[in-house]
């Protein structure tokens, strides 16, 4: 086994007869940024908690970078654990001291400012959720963890915070192995080298981000018509343009998954229904959500 690999083999976790992780096997390269994508309840948080040693597992094997020794790890959840009666500076100083690392007051101050907070006497209990998440992210800047596990790190953060998070991840690149669990495909696409999509604890697809780009950059056209589509009509819509990845029909409404949207595609879809004399009641365009992908092409993989 390579020293440069975090290896997960046949990992299974069952809680009260519910299979949370089902024979999951992954290989994560050292100092890479790895995304774990899934809808709520897909098992991504459990996977991260198991890797952090916070949750047990029934069967399988985890080898941390070959030697099996638990590495210096930072686990940051969507509701990060912080000490409410400390200030941001005190908290980061405590983490630095706890991990026997060296970071002087200026480094801590700089980390606080980097994540968009102020180095003042305000206790953490007075912080909003987004501010707490920012502070938890700052923890990775003042220590040097070998493995960083982010569970929905930007769930409660505003747009500016997301930009900050991407820049922090870029700063940590090549220093730590970073695993980010999220349902936000687009955000992960900006940061990760590689990603796995899991559903009901099973690996659906694992690949380089570039290869998954088709999924990450998806757009959906939702159309409601006067009657449900028939099978040959679905196939006909699929064949209208090479950028159409899949068509899913639920009753009178159906979704067309696209790699990218163009007027040409939209026009050809509308023309098709006009020619078939099927009236369109409603039409809308949105970014592809994970749910769209699961009900679309990924479900077929």
């Amino acid at each position: 086994m390579s020293e440069d690999v975090l290896s997960i083999k046949n990992l299974s976790k069952v809680i009260k007869n519910n299979t949370i992780l089902d024979n999951l096997s992954l290989t994560i390269h050292k100092n890479s940024i790895y995304g774990v994508v899934g809808v709520n309840g897909s098992g991504k948080s459990t996977l991260l908690r198991i890797l952090a040693g916070l949750t047990s597992f029934e069967s399988g094997e985890i080898k941390y970078f070959g030697n099996g020794v638990f590495p210096h790890t930072a686990y940051i959840s969507d509701f990060p654990g912080l000490y409410d009666l400390m200030t941001a500076h005190e908290f980061l100083q405590y983490i630095v001291d706890l991990r026997k690392e060296k970071a002087d007051s200026e480094v801590i101050k700089s980390a606080i400012i980097t994540v968009g907070l102020k180095d003042n006497k305000k206790h953490i209990k007075n912080y909003s959720r987004g501010m707490k998440q920012r502070l938890a992210i700052a923890e990775t800047l003042v220590t040097n963890p070998e493995l960083i596990l982010f569970d929905e790190p930007i769930a409660g953060i505003d747009f500016a915070g997301r930009e900050m998070f991407v820049s922090v991840i870029n700063e940590l690149k090549n220093k730590s192995t970073i695993i980010i669990a999220s349902h936000d495909l687009r955000e992960l696409g900006k940061m990760c080298d590689r990603a796995v999509i899991i559903d009901k604890g099973k690996k659906i697809v694992e690949d380089e981000i570039a290869s998954l780009g088709k999924i990450f950059g998806g757009v959906v056209i939702n159309i409601t018509i006067e009657r449900p589509l028939e099978a040959e009509e679905i196939n006909a819509v699929m064949g209208l343009h090479p950028d159409i990845n899949s068509v899913n029909s639920v009753g009178r409404t159906f979704s067309i998954m696209l790699s990218k949207l163009s007027n040409q595609i939209l026009q050809s879809v509308i023309n098709y229904f006009c020619e078939k004399q099927i009236s369109i009641e409603n039409i809308s365009v949105s970014d592809a959500k994970l749910e769209d992908i699961f009900t679309g092409e990924v479900a077929d993989l």
Binding site: A52, L54, G81, Y83, Y94, L98
Partner: protein, 256 residues
Amino acid sequence: MITMLKKELRELWRSKKTIVTFIILAVLAMTSIIMSKFEPQILNALLEARGTELPESFIEYLSTPPGVSQAAANFFGNISNIMIWVIILTTATAVNSEYINGTYSLYLNTKKSEFVITKFAARIIINFGAILLAAAFALLYIAVLFESAVLPGFAQSLIILCVYAAFTTAYSLLFSAVFKTVLKSIGISILFCIVLQMFSSFPVIGGYLPGGFAPHISAFLSGANSTGYIAYLVITVALTALCLVFATIGIKKYRV
């Protein structure tokens, strides 16, 4: 470990647990001695006001001036009763609150034994400090009200009380490591304390169990020698250490 200990002490201070513990025990020490001194007068005044006919023995009790050893016994009796509640309430949430708040994930690379020992040590420092302050207040009030500075057996009694406080801290910590909810850990700690008191009333073996500290204190305060005093201390210290070992194991297994 020093880093964690300093953080624990700071948390206890900022959450006002330290100051509350100190104030409760100090006030209790003062009132115990004051009540001992003036109890006959207070009772006499109350009974006279009600016009109650008093039996001979009770009149004799009321006319006997209260002694120093009686005041000290009152102090130890009251402090031990209240101290248990204070310790359980401040300690039985020490570990599981870290799980609930998510801060336990900060200790992924910390030895579990160090985590338990620092929590124990911080609470011992606070509890012993509060007991010693209370004892100082008790001695001061005894000196002022009873004009007596020498108290036989006071130091030995204080040692017994501190060892019992350490044991109470240890089992409260154990239950906070084993049970996931605050309500469960506090409830089981209280239940355990009651069971402990029941076992301590058993003849012969009761005096060697952690809850059986009262006869040893009574013996020392009356100037007699307490048989089994050393055995009591050894057993209680050993059980305290055992609780800490089990708390460490409890944390290791405390994974969902």
